[in-house]
């Protein structure tokens, strides 16, 4: 259990650190979100390289998505994605009903406006992982009620 808390606390500090060192006007611009997302991107690239070292070759995009939802999510967040939906044309929606990075925050609507900051890194993580597997994508997140979150993947 201790190793889970390590990443969680580090991540929280990272978010607050980026926002503290933000210059005037950056907070409104969303540059902090971009910074966090880019951090996640580079981490995702390295992580995916390590995780796919011993797995079999992926047959298609759906195979890759299943890997992300099951193995990747389990290794990073110790649980799987609860729901995966797709329109088979490059749009995927991942639903996590109890997102690990948000469970400590609230269990309803409180602090909803700050949720996007804490999802930026994870969006970047997925985008980086996919990019290293050869897929360009756009990843966004929406939170309607903590700690559940929805991640929208759009393959380009």
């Amino acid at each position: 259990m201790a190793d889970e808390a390590l990443f969680l606390l580090l991540h929280n500090e990272m978010v607050s650190g980026v926002y503290k060192s933000a210059e005037q006007g950056e907070v409104e611009n969303g540059r902090c979100i971009t910074k966090l997302e880019n951090m996640g991107f580079r981490v995702g690239q390295g992580l995916i390289e390590r995780f796919t070292k011993d797995t079999a070759r992926f047959k298609d995009e759906l195979d890759i998505m299943k890997f992300i939802c099951k193995d990747f999510w389990t290794t990073v967040f110790k649980k799987q994605i609860d729901n995966l939906r797709t329109n088979h044309q490059g749009i995927y929606v991942l639903q996590d009903n109890k997102f690990r990075l948000l469970t400590q925050m609230s269990a309803g609507k409180q602090y909803l406006e700050h949720a996007s900051k804490y999802l930026a890194f994870t969006c970047g993580l997925i985008r980086g992982g996919l990019s290293n597997l050869g897929i360009k994508s756009i990843v966004t997140a929406e939170v309607s009620s903590m700690p559940a979150c929805k991640l929208n993947l759009h393959f380009l």
Binding site: E49, T52, R57, G134
Partner: protein, 218 residues
């Protein structure tokens, strides 16, 4: 022996220069470097063909190791593709008969492990040439190991030859008892027995602007 790390999406028949560029190249001897570059470049087509044949039982689709790509009269070419679309190509002297399949496999595993370490290095920008010394050292040790093995093969071949023909002169038979001191293989042996060229993979077109001018005068 020649190795090549190549990155790019397969699927097309011809090698798209924008999509496949080398990340790392290493060869010995240095004289015929361009020839190896050319061979590796042409073998990329074979790699692409192998990974894109869905449904056909030519190669196990779930495996990363591609095996012998094609044998030419002097050299054998082996391939390996990772899930992250990085292609490793190795060209080995055909006279090096001591190399077994699982040895090649283990070499590719080592390469893959080292590449993963390079990827996780925060100072490495994905898409750049690999400049990590640790990677270089790993490749050098692999080359030395292969040279030693080939020299052992040479000795074994000599021994077999001499035992078959007892009329050989004494000077030749004394050669068969010679053993190279560990790690100290003379350069002439390196030159004539083995050539290892590790060329690195090209990254996908997203970093096209950063492409360096690879020797294209093939």
């Amino acid at each position: 022996m020649l190795g090549w790390l190549h990155r790019g999406k397969g699927g097309q028949g011809a090698v798209d220069p924008r999509k496949n560029y080398p990340l790392y190249i290493r060869s010995t001897p240095m004289e015929s470097e361009l020839k190896f570059h050319y061979m590796v470049h042409t073998s990329l087509d074979v790699v692409d063909e192998k990974i894109s044949t869905m449904g056909k039982a030519l190669v196990d689709q779930r495996e990363l190791y591609l095996g012998l790509l094609y044998p030419t009269e002097d050299y054998k070419v082996y391939g390996y593709v990772t899930n992250s679309k990085v292609k490793f190509v190795m060209v080995v002297d055909s006279s090096n008969t001591a190399l077994r399949d699982n040895e090649i496999r283990s070499m590719f595993r080592k390469l893959h492990n080292s590449y993963t370490d390079v990827m996780c290095n925060p100072f490495y920008n994905p898409g750049d040439r690999i400049q990590s010394r640790a990677f270089d050292n790993m490749v050098t040790s692999m080359m030395i190991q292969l040279t030693q093995e080939s020299s052992t093969a040479m000795e074994l071949a000599d021994k077999a030859q001499h035992s078959a023909s007892p009329g050989t002169q004494g000077s030749a038979s004394s050669f068969s008892n010679f053993r190279w001191p560990k790690g100290k293989v003379p350069t002439w042996l390196l030159k004539h027995q083995l050539s290892l060229l590790l060329s690195t993979a090209f990254k996908e077109g997203s970093k096209g602007a950063k492409q360096e001018s690879f020797p294209r005068k093939l």
